[in-house]
Amino acid sequence: MPPFELNTDISNRRDLQSSDLTPYDALYLGNPYCRDYEANFLERVDELAEAIRQVKGAGRRAYVTTYAAPRNSFLDQIRRVLEVAEREGADAVEAHNLGVLRICRTECPGLPVFVGGFANVYTDVGARVLLDSGARRLTPNYELSLEEIGLLARNTGAEVELLVHGKMPLGISDYCFLLEYEKAWGIPCPSLCQQDLYLRQGDWAMKSVGKGVLSGRDVCMLEHLPALWAAGYRTFRLTALSERPAYRAEVGAVYRAALTGAAAGGGAFPEAWWEVIRRHSRIGLCNGFYFGQSGQAYVPARQEVGA
């Protein structure tokens, strides 16, 4: 087993079959934004079961995500998903929502629960409540700086997962505004949200996935990986829900190599890696909020603070 985990996320069987998963130790299965997302594993439990078996059969850990903002009417489907996850031996379920965390712990106590980035883990005392509620791993809110995350981790001993590359979630809605464009564009749901659409104004750009808004720029912590490693982080996520399979494979390979290097004490970042990163980043790069600045800022490693 490698001394770290690099994971990513996949929404449906088509993406799973067409993605090279070689760089990854674990996969989150399902799309947490929308029930109507094309062939979402969270709505097709037979395909979810098959995917869990496939991922585990390939020697990787299979996690199942859940809806980030579920209404009452979602909960029975979430229960069906949990039942499949438990039956098929999924390694964990990701809960972005406190109600879902509670259902997991009360109805599937044997299934480890990870708390996802939409659950608003902001402080050590909040993290402590979630750990006491049965959470095994936490993704702190993306707004936290590395300094704040470090404090949270030290004060709780929690296993923390960090988003190290990809589009950072910026919000989730109860409804899809892209549906307003169905007729005008002649593109029906569920193809609408897969159009690689960016909301732009002046110097800002955000990616729209219908019910969700993502950062326009890709979070990139490549050159900061040695610092993250030195700080004790071992679980890293590359978000790729809205990306093509090539992104998942090629950017994942760069991070796999960089993390392997960081684990060995190295810190070289060949230009070829940056070419891959740049090729897949349509709007540019940022560090999210890790350095206490606006989420779309990029801080080079030599200027980093608080890591």
């Binding site: 509670r102 402080t123 509620s133 950072m168 104004q201």
Partner: protein, 308 residues
């Protein structure tokens, strides 16, 4: 229509100033909620100084009404003890409860002040009975749901929890769910010292969730272009929905709602009066079993929280 026999819910009105508080009380609010300067989300839209809060508490006491204080910010660890002692201080003045948007702060206040009612605010993002069950187990006394949850969904929640159920029955729902929005801080995040807080106490302007004075830059209300590979496919602003559930009051009562909340700490006193009066009359009619007329459509701009 049959008479409603359930306990009447509390009509909870907003007050961003002493004048607005007086207007809400005069219009028939059972309770009002206010923000304490520096410690509530969107504080620039209306927070009270400690002195103003004491005055409002005295005024409410004269009317035999109650006051809740919004502490819907997320203090950094260094600020937490300071804020909790401020909460203890205002609780001793006769505040009926506090409203929080962070699980950690809820937990810390519950430990320090076990008898103080604590509401999990709309910023906590509760949308289901399971969320209510979580917050009940975490020690909340009340949980707030947005008006997007109709009476049928509230009835489902009621069957699963003994927690007080509060519905913000008059509100603007922005496109991104409250408590789940990082768009302003993605674009601009400006730390600013927090007056009278210890250590590195600071508000993070741009962080909707963490709160402070003037936090939200309202990115969602700025026009954008929707582009695909450089080609413009559309333009506009994010959609928002105005909810005015006055006509649904009988159904919410039947569903077992405990608190009916009105959004609008940024509203001027006269608008608070008109808004509160409208819902007071509606609620009284519903409690008598009389029909409740729907709110005029479209609503006057001054009735909305953001004027659009």
């Amino acid at each position: 229509m049959p008479m409603v026999t359930l306990s009447p819910p509390i009509l909870l009105a907003p007050a961003g100033s002493p004048e607005a508080a007086a207007a809400a009380l005069a219009a028939g609010a059972d309770a009002i909620y206010v923000g304490l300067k520096g410690w509530s989300r969107g504080g620039g839209r209306g927070e009270l100084t400690a002195e103003e809060l004491r005055g409002v508490l005295a005024e409410a006491a004269r009317h035999r009404r109650t006051v809740q204080v919004a502490c819907n910010t997320i203090p950094k660890p260094a600020e937490r003890a300071f804020l909790i002692e401020r909460v203890a201080e205002v609780a001793a003045w006769g505040v009926a409860g506090v409203i929080v948007n962070d699980l950690g702060l809820l937990s810390a206040i519950r430990r320090r002040l076990p008898a103080l009612p604590v509401t999990a605010s709309i910023g906590c993002g509760a949308l289901s009975w399971a969320d209510a069950a979580f917050y009940e187990a975490a020690g909340a006394t009340c949980v707030v749901f947005p008006a997007v949850l109709g009476p049928e969904e509230v009835a489902v929640v009621r069957r699963h929890t003994r927690l007080q159920i509060e519905v913000m029955i008059h509100m603007v729902e922005e496109f991104i769910l409250l408590g789940r929005c990082l768009m302003p801080s993605y674009l601009r995040l400006q730390p600013r010292p927090l007056p009278d807080a210890p250590g590195d106490g600071q508000r993070l302007l741009g962080s909707v969730k963490r709160g402070g004075a003037g936090v939200c830059s309202r990115v969602c209300q700025q026009p954008w272009r929707l582009e695909k590979e450089g080609e413009v496919w559309g333009d506009g602003i994010f959609p928002s929905r105005q909810f005015s559930r006055v006509a649904d009051l009988p159904a919410y009562l039947a569903a077992g709602v405990d608190v009916l909340k009105l959004q609008g700490r940024s509203l001027p006193a006269e608008a608070v009066y008109a808004l509160t009066r409208r819902y007071r009359e509606g609620l009284d009619a519903a409690l008598r079993g009389d029909p409740v007329a729907a709110a005029p459509a479209p609503l006057p701009a001054h009735w909305t929280a953001v004027g659009r």
